[in-house]
Symmetry: C2
Subunit: 153 residues, 2 copies
DNA sequence: CTGGGTGCAAAATCTTTGCAGATCC
DNA sequence: GGATCTGCAAAGATTTTGCACCCAG
């Protein structure tokens, strides 16, 4: 290995790049919630040689810096659930496991979006993030740093 | 008391298949929220020639039949958001657009997961589904059938 | 100068699809 | 017997990565 690569997880001093600056500006200027591909197409005009790889790398950096965030729904398949009754989910930030919560969904929350604006709400979903019982126990009293991936494959 | 099934989507007559039955059984028997790949690996023992394509096709059929559902978070990148303040999202079921909601997040909801079980909640997210103002207006009074995709790409 | 950043292309994932042949009803 | 379904493989779609060169500091 050639250096403290892993420390990138913390705020590593970064050099500026015109590309990254524009990606951030663009994201801040739009109401939509763009994809990497959209950004790439949009910025092609200013950077004719801009590569999608660069867009992805910069997205990763911006997320790391807390300047943007990803929206991880409405995307691809991934996980499945045979419990078709409405229910909430808990996602462990340490082991990435997903659990069904035994909490009755609160339909009154559907009234939250301002209907005077014209929203017609049919349902909602909630994901709680934190430590699952198992991980919480394991880390009881100790700082948690390592990130023990445990996703089903 | 079975609620009326959604007849919106054309239901093709289905034949049974041992593979699909086992996929459903397996999904119902596990606490985890498996991926297609996990199912495939797991069922390889019973069906040595089972193909991933078949798994995906059957997942699609089971979802169509309302027997299972997908969990579309915790997955890949896809959409981004430059609004890093906590906020909820609204997803239009017709045009698939994603909107930030101007609703103050209710931190008290973090108390919903049963902490006596050991959950440590740090945050939560909510997605509301339904019709956005634009689509709601367009469909006012008319049945809605067509699905006008509008995802950024 | 130096090491992070970029473009490019290949690789890695994940999901879909065309086709020929097997299977269920 | 005929419409479905399956396995296989190729194609798509999306994201990551290795590498040589470039450029900000």
């Amino acid at each position: 290995m050639k250096g403290p690569r892993k420390l990138q997880e913390m705020q590593m001093p970064r050099r500026r790049s015109r590309q990254r600056e524009r990606i951030l500006e663009l994201l801040r200027s739009t109401e939509a919630h763009p994809t990497a591909n959209w950004l790439h197409g949009r910025l092609r005009k200013e950077f004719p040689n801009l590569s999608l790889g660069t867009v992805y790398r910069n997205i990763g950096i911006l997320i790391q810096q807390g300047l943007i965030s990803r929206i991880a729904f409405g995307s691809t398949f991934d996980h499945l659930d045979a419990n078709v009754n409405p229910h909430y989910h808990f996602i462990c930030e340490r082991c990435d496991s997903i659990m069904d919560l035994d909490v009755p969904p609160d339909q009154s929350l559907n009234a939250l979006p301002d209907t005077s604006l014209g929203f017609k709400v049919s349902r909602h979903e909630i994901e709680f993030y934190g430590l699952c019982p198992k991980c919480a126990k394991r880390l009881d009293g100790s700082a948690f740093l390592s990130h023990n991936r445990n996703r089903s494959e």
